[in-house]
């Protein structure tokens, strides 16, 4: 029942998102059919795609974060604290250097391949280090991301690609138009895939022996999880740029509300992720109209405050 309420709130935000912008369009006019051609054009070519993109990117990013947390068994990982996003950025840079004419789908796939490799590297490092502390995992991930990012920056600088690198690292929905966001539907499909595989992923998170004992294939399940995470990161990066912290804070907040059953959590995470991104984007659009504040800045502020709260809330004492 509470889930229905959450869906209603998100839907309301989506409706608001349709009517926020420079061109004046009101719901009353739309319902009464008092809309001229230009308004209709704006609505169909910019507002609707943008709202859809927000919903899809929000769902997919939040669920990808949840999937990652389940398989690494750590509350503080998500694609942007595991080197995944930075690796995808490196992939995009490589494509831009060697095959600039490649269609968007191809670029996305290369970025996804790199994201997959980066995530695999992260998991390999985690296996090498005896982890006595929960917080080591995100720390190593953030640093790995920093190192990959520094390498990417260096090559981008050498080949005068810093502006495009800036565009990827800054998540921003202002450039979304019809024909520029359709890849995000893949993200929506992956969200459904994560929901379908929720129980298997939970089992795989328990470890290899446990999974095998239950008669499930460990490797295929892990591979599925990694593919979901890598593809989502690549799709979102190519379409809108990096959306920081979303995959980390939404699952954590959801787990405070509904607990840790993944099958129950996935719809919640998807709906809250979409609602969160919609809310942040609406704020970014209205606060300094007609200028926009990109989603990565808004979410960066809100997300890091919530992240700090989550960190300092856990009373955990480990030997320093």
């Amino acid at each position: 029942m509470r889930l229905v309420l959450a869906i209603a709130v998100t839907a309301l935000l989506a409706v608001i998102s349709l009517f926020v912008g420079v061109t004046e369009i009101t719901p009353a006019d739309l319902l009464a059919g008092r809309i001229d051609d230009r308004q209709w054009q704006v609505l169909m070519a910019a507002r609707v795609p943008r709202t859809l993109a927000l919903i899809l990117a929000g769902c997919a990013t939040a669920v990808a974060g949840l999937v990652m947390q389940i398989i690494v068994r750590n509350r503080f990982v998500e694609p942007s604290t595991a080197g995944t996003v930075e690796a995808a950025g490196l992939g995009l840079l490589v494509v831009t250097l060697f095959a600039p004419g490649m269609p968007l789908m191809g670029k996305m796939l290369v970025a996804a391949a790199f994201a997959l490799a980066g995530t695999a590297l992260f998991l390999r490092i985690l296996r090498m280090v005896p982890l006595r502390d929960v917080l080591m995992v995100p720390l190593i991930g953030i640093m790995l991301g920093g190192v990959i990012g520094a390498g990417t920056t260096f090559f981008a600088y050498r080949f005068d690609l810093l502006p495009s690198l800036g565009a990827w690292s800054m998540g921003d929905f202002s450039g979304i138009l019809r024909g520029r966001y359709e890849l995000l539907w893949i993200g929506g499909a992956l969200t459904l895939a994560a929901y379908a595989a929720a129980d298997r992923l939970t089992v795989a998170g328990m470890g290899k022996d446990f999974t095998t004992n239950l008669g499930l294939g460990y490797r295929p399940t892990m591979a599925l999880a990694l593919v979901i995470v890598a593809l989502v990161s690549a799709v979102v990066l190519v379409s809108v740029g990096m959306i920081p912290f979303l995959g980390l804070i939404v699952p954590n907040i959801v787990s405070l509300i509904v607990g840790d059953n993944m099958r129950r959590a996935v719809p919640w995470v998807a709906v809250s992720g979409a609602g969160f991104v919609l809310a942040c984007d609406i704020v970014g659009r209205t606060i300094r109209a007609p200028y926009e504040i990109p989603i990565s800045t808004t979410l960066g502020v809100v997300g890091s405050v919530i992240f700090l709260f989550l960190l300092l809330r856990t009373r955990h004492h480990a030997p320093a």
Partner: protein, 320 residues
């Protein structure tokens, strides 16, 4: 005790020769035309680089002394992002008009003062209130850094696009465009901070032993820590104002200094770290400018190497 001392002395002598060689190379390589002009022009650059190396090395060593571990550095804990935030905040709340009336020196002094107060307050709260785990501290620092950076970005977006451009540069480190108008006032500030450091230097080795030991050996602990944090804040402000945020540089030189000296005594580590900083910055800048003709690449290379060192330290610390 004699053997390590002798080794450290030899290391220091070698480093001093190398640093001198780097400075001479920077001043004299590829000079054409008017020697007087070139020496003056490059002299200010070298002075700036030495100031930055001095500030970052000293502040990192002091910070590690207070926190009692080898991984934390002021910039990892978000100090330089804090300075950027303060600088942006001053512009945001007082506007460029007010700033234009003030001389850059007065403005700089005010910013350093605000930064110092804020930093001492923040880190006293973090360090002296509760015994928290090291990893939590590092992670909290990193997230604070992200928060400060995004808050600054948020404020910058709320300003005029024109103003926004001028502040935008502050997010990126560059060792090649040090503002000569700030050199004089920076030298004075760094000199004063170094003098205070020298006055209390006798207690550093004792502070490394930890809080209880230091108190029982007669060090006025709380006051001393507050003083040191204030010095660190001042030094970081100067370095950030001159070249921008450099995350891992301090970690790199101080870790190297520890490895080379083989003794943890401040009388060896401090000068070694400063000399290494000078070698890195002046030598690196000479190589890149004169040999490879790059410009801002030095900061990127340092970030890359420093990030690797950081991961190594983390992994080793976890493996121990």
């Amino acid at each position: 005790m004699h053997r390590p001392d002798a080794r450290a002395r030899i290391v220091l002598a070698v480093l001093a020769v190398l640093a001198a060689a780097a400075i001479v190379a920077f001043m004299t390589l590829g000079v054409r035309g008017n020697w007087g002009f070139v020496l003056g022009f490059r002299g200010t650059k070298v002075l700036g680089l030495i100031l930055v190396a001095w500030s970052i090395a000293l502040s990192t060593v002091l910070f590690q002394t207070v926190t009692g571990n080898r991984i934390l550095t002021p910039s990892i804990m978000g100090f330089d992002a804090l300075f950027i935030l303060i600088r942006t905040g001053v512009t945001f709340f007082f506007g460029f008009g007010a700033l234009a009336l003030m001389s850059p020196k007065v403005q700089f002094g005010a910013e350093v003062l605000v930064m110092t107060g804020f930093a001492v307050f923040l880190f006293q709260w973090l360090f002296l209130r509760a015994q928290r785990s090291l990893h939590l501290m590092v992670l909290v620092g990193i997230v604070f850094g992200v928060l400060f950076r995004n808050l600054a970005g948020f404020m910058q977006r709320l300003m005029d696009p024109v103003q926004f451009q001028t502040l935008q540069d502050m997010f990126f480190a560059s060792f090649s465009r040090i503002d000569p108008t700030l050199l004089g006032v920076s030298t004075v500030i760094v000199g004063a901070a170094s003098l205070v450091t020298w006055r209390i230097a006798h207690s550093f080795d004792v502070l490394m032993l930890g809080r209880e030991q230091a108190i029982s050996l007669g060090v006025p602990y709380r006051r001393r820590v507050a003083t040191i944090l204030a010095i660190v804040a001042v030094l970081v402000s100067v370095a950030t104002a001159l070249v921008g945020p450099v995350t891992f540089f301090g970690l790199l030189v101080v870790s190297l200094a520890h490895v080379l000296c083989g003794s943890g005594r401040h009388r060896h580590v401090l000068p070694a770290a400063v000399l290494l900083g000078i070698i890195c910055l002046v030598g690196g800048q000479t190589l890149l400018e004169r040999v490879f003709a790059f410009d801002t690449a030095l900061s990127i290379i340092i970030e890359f190497l420093g990030g690797l060192v950081f991961i190594l330290l983390l992994v080793r610390g976890a493996a121990r």
